[in-house]
């Protein structure tokens, strides 16, 4: 009861704490009455009962009511509205149930393909240059296609070193590397197994719809 105490001469502000005395030298130095919870209820009994009722409510609701499915819990964004017929458990049991990731989630890398199925990368070395973790290794070789200068002979990404910053995707001039798989780096027993090779990166590859060179794929022929 904040306003219940009587107005005495020392009190200046009815909403603030009860001022017991004010210093003569500096009016800002005041002795105030501190109201601790334990002074009001030394046995903590009411607080205990209140708290136990809240936790018991949560326990019984979560113990008795059916669980919300992953289709509710897996939605990205704000947590779902509390339901009356289902419990409030928020846990998503990961390997079996998965959260729907945001569209721009950066997952495991992939290399995109040309229309003829060849690797789209031209080994321009932009991504290993920009990579802050130095996790990309490219060894270029000459391309069989006379219209294309280079292609990667080796394209390796060490997923243990990768910091998932996405700068390689930003840097790539021809939409050859992407992180839109929505996958996590897989757990491995040996460090070497964490290195993604050109083959594994291409195995997740998709056709890129981006037009290379900016003016149509056959701009050289025009």
């Amino acid at each position: 009861m904040a306003g219940a105490h009587t107005h005495d001469e020392h009190e200046h502000d009815t909403t603030g704490p009860l001022v017991l005395s004010v210093s003569d030298k500096n009016p800002k130095v005041r002795t105030i009455q501190v109201r601790r919870p334990e002074d009001q209820d030394a046995s903590y009994l009411t607080a205990t009962v209140k708290g136990a009722l809240i936790t018991a409510k949560h326990f019984f609701r979560n113990f008795l009511l059916p669980r919300r499915g992953p289709e509710v819990l897996g939605k990205s964004g704000a947590p779902p509205e509390p339901s009356r017929v289902e419990n409030w458990i928020e846990t998503v049991q990961y390997p079996e149930e998965k959260v729907e990731y945001p569209e721009r989630f950066r997952g495991l890398h992939r290399l995109t393909l040309r229309d003829d199925g060849a690797v789209r990368c031209v080994a321009c070395m932009c991504c290993p240059t920009v990579c802050p973790a130095h996790c990309i290794t490219i060894v270029p070789e000459e391309s069989e296609n006379p219209g294309i200068e280079k292609r990667p002979a080796v394209f390796e990404i060490d997923e243990l070193r990768c910091v998932v910053c996405g700068l390689c995707v930003e840097a790539c001039p021809c939409d050859a590397i992407r992180m839109d798989t929505g996958l996590h780096a897989k757990p491995v027993y040996e460090r070497g197994d964490a290195i993604e090779t050109k083959e594994s990166l291409l195995s997740r590859g998709i056709r890129s719809t981006a037009v290379q060179g900016g003016e149509g794929a056959d701009w050289r022929e025009e």
Partner: protein, 409 residues
């Protein structure tokens, strides 16, 4: 040549079956139940993964995995500790709790010969030494008049486990934790004992089995107004509700768990078993959980009628009826009876005890996961300024009311 019943009635056998066979598994299960319950209280799922092949059982097997992990961990003893005391401390913590269970009445006295038919309680009271009653198996190991005093005495020894662990670890933090543990125990043991004084006054006995079999109305009211000990109104929670709350609070403090976990303070203030690991630490941990079961068993026996199933007398369910005294034994007779075989009655009563204990364990876990830890000064204030005067007042008021009752009866 002892008969099979003599062997079954031997305290060692009963200890094996009841403490090692029932209490230890229940305490181990509590380690899993606590994690699941706390998870549910916090809108989580909790551990539900441990399995043997397809057998998952909602993760109950986590306690097996935990036990195996602790047993097969390296038994590491730091070089600087006092080796003897270091090894002794976990035993000191665990053994007294296991011993204290001797005074708990787990169920009624079983008479295997009468399993198929209702027990003749009148005949039993009149001729307790008759040859057909020689096959009795009492589900209480240690029946002595000073039962609850024995419990206080033995459980105080468990406190030495923590203090000795802190001392033997030769670690400042462990030593401080051990000292906190002993100071906390000192503040609570007094009000714990005093809060039960009202019970002793009302019932006139310190023996849990006697309290269970008599209730509080036997001493207080006239002979014609006795209630059956199976009547929930005859259990001591009703006249001694203050003592129940005080005893429960002190008992939770005794288990050294939140909100009174100042001796341990798992996450930040370091406790007395900081130097322990593996199964030695596991023994402290198990002792804590067995103590939860034990506190529940004591509160059940003293305040909630122990193994009494509501309105279930030795010969069956009874509505109405009255109590008579035969050879100093209280027997309920008359009224409308639904006779039940002795085996069914004994099973119901044994189950009732288990259910009450499990419910109280649940409640202790609820409190533990509801309240944050007290500060040391708050704890001491609660112990010395709230619990102690209240328990003294409870003794005084109970005595005054008791005297007034006797005077005006």
């Amino acid at each position: 040549m002892p008969s099979i019943y003599d062997i079954l009635d031997w305290p060692g056998t009963k200890w094996l079956f009841l403490v090692l066979g029932l209490v230890m598994p229940l305490a181990s299960l509590l380690t899993w139940a606590e994690r699941r319950q706390s998870a549910m209280m916090q809108d989580r799922l909790g551990p539900n993964r441990a399995n043997i092949g397809p057998i998952k059982l909602k993760g109950i097997l986590h306690f097996v995995a935990d036990a195996l992990k602790m047993i097969f961990k390296e038994d590491f003893i730091p070089g600087h500790v006092h080796k003897g005391l270091f090894a002794l401390a976990p035993i000191l913590a665990l053994a007294p709790v296991l011993i204290a269970f001797c005074i708990i009445p787990f169920g009624p006295t079983i008479y295997p010969h009468a399993a198929g038919a209702p027990l003749d309680a009148l005949e039993l009271a009149a001729h307790p030494n008759a040859p057909q009653f020689a096959d009795s198996i009492r589900l209480q190991m240690f029946q002595v008049d000073f039962g609850l005093i024995f419990y206080f005495a033995v459980l105080t020894l468990a406190n030495y486990g923590g203090t000795v662990a802190g001392w033997a670890s030769y670690n400042k933090w462990a030593l401080l934790g051990g000292l906190r543990s002993s100071s906390q125990m000192m503040s609570y043991e007094v009000s714990m004992g005093l809060s039960l004084m009202g019970v002793f006054l009302l019932v006139g006995s310190l023996e849990p089995g006697y309290i269970v079999q008599h209730g509080w109305t036997a001493e207080l009211f006239g002979q014609d107004r006795w209630l059956s000990p199976a009547n929930p109104l005859n259990w001591l929670w009703l006249p001694q509700i203050t003592a129940l709350i005080l005893f429960f609070t002190a008992a939770v403090a005794e288990t050294k768990r939140a909100p009174f976990d100042i001796p341990e303070g798992e996450p930040e203030i370091i406790g007395y078993f900081v130097e322990y690991s593996g199964i030695r630490w596991g023994m402290f941990f198990l002792a804590e959980f067995i103590e939860i079961v034990f506190i529940s068993a004591v509160i059940t026996s003293v305040f909630f009628g122990g193994w009494q199933f509501p309105f279930l007398d030795p010969d069956g369910f009874r509505i109405g009826g009255y109590m008579t005294q035969v050879n100093g034994h209280l027997i309920s007779t008359g009224g409308t009876v639904l006779p039940l075989p002795h085996a069914v009655v004994a099973l119901l009563q044994f189950t009732a005890f288990g259910a009450k204990v499990v419910l109280l364990c649940w409640f202790q876990l609820l409190i533990r996961w509801t309240l944050p830890r007290f500060r040391v000064d708050q704890l001491m204030n609660l112990g010395w300024k709230a619990l102690l005067p209240l328990s003294l007042a409870n003794v005084m008021v109970t005595a005054a009311v008791y005297l007034a009752f006797l005077a005006f009866r």
